[in-house]
Symmetry: C2
Subunit: 418 residues, 2 copies
């Protein structure tokens, strides 16, 4: 996986770049919507393409339980299964497993958990998390990590950080063995664009392409067939350490020493004050290699986007735009609007007067409020569409400002309306 | 409202025509999807346009209760409220009201009922049904009728049919008074295309147009403002009489004597054998004026479309494609497929191998089955999209066969795969 920084903001640590994946190029800083069960809830893939989603996140925990990673592997991987020929990142499943109230137990080997669907018992190790993600075939896979709540004691935070480091080494070792012999191909996308190579079937697809089901049927001869769906999956490490800078530094150094295609910041936005989040992001990002993408996991608000990018972040994901939408709350240029409220029952204006998305061009607050009030699915669809457009458009503005100036102005504008 | 027959099948009573409404021209025979609460469940209006929906049906009962017809009137009518600049037909609300188990009571004056939402008491008279529909501003509105279940005694059927006739006269009288003085404008669309007339704001819109919210803000001066949203709403009568031909004949004669822009066949597909449905449709259609559209209410299966059109029907509506879709059942060229069944968990084929809709071009049965299994909204959306495409495409094939030949072949093909 190749990552190229193409511009830097002179007044902050913000940078714009290009992330080359086996399924297309992602402009960074990038916001990745969360498609928990292989679908961004209430949205069709065509709509995501229309909004300009370049890379999405899928949850390993959910897909492992249903329909099962072996089913998805048998169907050619997650890209083909969900008909998303663009980049995908999967998490390790650890965060969900450890969030299950009373259902998870962490050991040195891994984590025991019970399915929230049927109560069945499962074990997730660092190796298993990689195995499942390789079966899904994401372009970027994540190591299993232990994320602690806030507040947590120094000892708890340190223990979890050190366990994460040991797991990271195991995950990377397993990954290296699984993809052994095809290392040359993982180095850069440029090595793989020769049609003569067995891996040419993973060539970059145009990000705007709508592929028919049949075009996913890559010709694969028997000898080339493998249980590895995507031979170019890259693996990211995750820096832990809570809000303790010494622990963050130790974790970052360990991850860099192990060596990953990119580095994530985990364990943030778990309840700590916003100033601490920003402080840890700035401190940690600085410790990571300039030539690798930095991914801040599970963050955040529109203001978080601009503030964390200013501190050196390249990739972010969050359920906020999609989950809030389904609850009837939308993000607008004037702040949050709870459109399901009765006060909008006769409001003929669009969700956001400054927005050019296809929902704002066509539907009124009064209609969308009615849809929520009547429990109609279209309400969730329209609100989700708008919110994702808002987030993706915020990132477009951020990228533009980094390349062509005005980042400080953008930051203060976003702060004013948050 | 002008209706023009442009072709007839030489071997049946099937006919193709054009229905000119204030919001565009509808090619007949037409299938109208049901948008109960001002939305075709799980679909956005853009998708309906993509599929080729020309006219949709909305339920007066649901919109009267929520958000209320006065709210919709204040927001400029249903077309504007739901951002559907194409033709709309509303039912009278009577069918829903009388279907409410134990909640409705029919009197000579009208029908008392309790809201299924909050138990509040309401009264729907023939006049009130017209008043509500005029507030919604549909292009075609329906008279209040009494529809009896099957089987029903001769006396019950006769009483309901005669009550429907008396209500029809009252509805038509109320409609005439409400729209008094603008009769000239209702006769044909041609009379209304002069930009100088006060009614030019209701000119036909191109059926493919996607109008921004702002373009619904017609300039209306104070003196022209009226409580009538759509001055060109046309009213249809409804023929009742169960499966008794003498009663059907009496009802048809009464309706024709009162005089309506079109005539509906009500009280069918309520449990009677299919052969009786077809028999009554054929008998009744023959009694109605050649130059007016004939609308068969609440019917039916793909086979019903081709069979009832063959008996002289021009318009049909049914919840079957949309409701079945949400239950995980799709219509295909090979018959019905219950896609939510486990047997499709690894099926990489499209819903219907013979279908060219955007769902079949992109998504597999395995993925759609997963969406239903995981309770994801996109499952209902994709299945609904496909089913509506199937129905609309069936009607396209029917219209083509009427105009260019092959109707008998089409009938036997449909019968084979039903």
């Amino acid at each position: 996986m190749r990552f190229e920084v193409i511009a830097r903001d002179p007044n902050s640590r913000a940078r714009a770049g290009l992330l080359y994946t086996p399924h297309g190029v992602v402009e960074t800083p990038a916001f990745m919507p969360v498609g928990t069960a292989g679908t961004i809830k209430a949205m069709a893939q065509e709509q995501l393409e229309q909004i300009g989603v370049e890379m999405l996140l899928a949850n390993t925990y959910h897909l492992y339980l249903r329909p099962g990673h072996e089913t998805i592997r048998a169907l050619g991987g997650l890209h083909r299964f969900m008909s998303w020929p663009h980049p995908i990142l999967t998490d390790s499943g650890g965060f969900q497993v450890m969030s299950l109230k009373g259902l998870g137990r962490v050991t040195e080997d891994g984590v025991w958990f019970r399915s929230h669907l049927d109560g069945s018992s499962h074990f997730l190790s660092p190796e298993k998390a990689v195995e499942i993600q390789l079966a899904l075939g994401a372009d970027v896979i994540m190591i299993l990590d232990e994320c602690v709540e806030y507040p947590a004691s120094y000892e708890t935070t340190k223990r979890a950080m050190q366990l994460t480091s040991r797991w990271a080494r195991r995950a990377k070792g397993y990954y290296d063995v699984e993809l052994a012999g095809i290392d040359d191909c993982r180095l850069t996308i440029d090595d793989c664009t020769d049609d003569e190579t067995p891996n040419s079937k993973f060539d970059t697809l145009p990000s705007s392409a709508v592929l028919p089901v049949s075009s996913f049927q890559f010709p694969v001869s028997g000898s080339e067939q493998s249980s590895i769906v995507n031979r170019q999956s890259s693996i990211f490490g995750i820096v832990q350490g809570g809000v303790d800078k010494a622990l963050r530094q130790e974790s970052a150094e360990e991850m860099v020493e192990i060596g990953f295609a990119g580095y994530a910041l985990g364990g943030l936005s778990v309840g700590e004050p916003k100033s601490e989040t920003y402080d840890v992001v700035e401190f940690t990002a600085e410790l990571l290699p300039q030539d690798r993408p930095r991914y801040l996991m599970g963050v955040g608000t529109p203001e978080d986007l601009v503030e964390c990018v200013a501190r050196g972040i390249d990739m972010m994901d969050c359920v906020m735009p999609t989950r809030n939408a389904r609850n009837g709350t939308v993000f607008t240029s004037e702040g949050k609007v709870v459109v399901k409220n009765a006060r909008y029952a006769q409001d003929e204006g669009p969700l956001d007067p400054a927005c050019g998305c296809s929902v704002c061009r066509r539907y009124s607050r009064a209609y969308i409020r009615h849809l929520f009030n009547a429990g109609e699915m279209l309400g969730a669809t329209l609100a989700t569409h708008h919110n994702l457009h808002f987030y993706l458009d915020s990132m477009r503005k951020i990228r533009h400002a980094i390349r062509f100036g005005g980042y400080n102005t953008l930051r203060s504008e976003v702060r004013t309306h948050s």
